[in-house]
Symmetry: C2
Subunit: 191 residues, 2 copies
Amino acid sequence: MAGLRERTRRAVQAELAAVALELFTERGFDDVTVDDIARAAGVSKRSFFRYFPAKEDAVFDGVRLMGDDIAEQITGRPAGEPAWECLHAVLREWVARIDAGSRAALRVIESTPALRARFQQKREEARGRIAEALAERTGLDAFAVDLLTSAAATAIDCATREWLRTGGAEDERLKLVDTAFDRLRPTCAGS
Amino acid sequence: MAGLRERTRRAVQAELAAVALELFTERGFDDVTVDDIARAAGVSKRSFFRYFPAKEDAVFDGVRLMGDDIAEQITGRPAGEPAWECLHAVLREWVARIDAGSRAALRVIESTPALRARFQQKREEARGRIAEALAERTGLDAFAVDLLTSAAATAIDCATREWLRTGGAEDERLKLVDTAFDRLRPTCAGS
DNA sequence: GCCATACATGTCACTCGATGCCATAAGCGT
DNA sequence: ACGCTTATGGCATCGAGTGACATGTATGGC
């Protein structure tokens, strides 16, 4: 079972992330020091760094770990499904499930260049894992799954940006994702 | 004409960037302090930051400013050319012209996560400017040029990764770029 | 050539993120 | 209750980055 140790650790970590997110939302990422967060949560600055390797990671704690989650769903899709439809279906559902907690974190990330950069980087790692899962499922070569997963990521990005440009109505979002996936479908192999 | 002031400034900046690149290549980005660079170039740490806003920027100085350069070439393409072919032609040529100086800088960037993240970010800004130029030239809407330029960036990325995976022979590179552009061509609008 | 001005540089001091070390307190299994 | 692991706080330190101040040096007007 989950020992007390592990549970309290999780609780403190979540508390720190929550406090941090609140302060970041209020004053902006750069205008909040680690000391501020630690004091507000009732621990020392030193302890903060025992829960998060860096200040930035307190923000990413609130965002779903996309990689393994999605890779797992990929492997669970119906056998005959073409790769592009598979990615479309899984990612479409993933977009549909962005909870309110993640929303606040994403807003902070969006408004801080340094965080945006790191976020992209983490997403790129996730894409790598997804590409692996897709390769295993479909038997396509590395180049093909790279093209497919990269195109899928691009589709989500473009859809999101267009969504923001056009106001951001909730029911428009999935339609834009569908449109982007439709227009960006890679040709030839495994389509 | 270019005053003496401006010229010496440029010279010192280039010298700092060169010294920095050398040290980074030798010992890795993280194992070189700004003090090291400054001393090696014969200036104070404070002066280093008068030439570069951050340590990272000493690396990016060696890489061509892609944005405006490419955007300019976009606007100079033959009038009737479809958007995708236009991007393909301009970026193909850009890939072909990566000089040896940039090569060293790119290697340092590639081997340092923090630099990779910032590099992606700068490239995203460049993509924005290119998208603007493309919109002006073709009259396409923001969503369409976003899809096109993002897909083009994806094509370059995938081609580069495949190129690295398969050994990195110089004459293979452009062929992979062509293949990636071929497979990732967005459908419908302005193709 | 002389002088006032703008600009470049160096030094010092400081903030903040991040890490190592050590002493201490709290939990854990036996 | 006894050792053992683990969490914590405090302290010192490093490195990136910034602000303030003083000094030197090129520039432009006379």
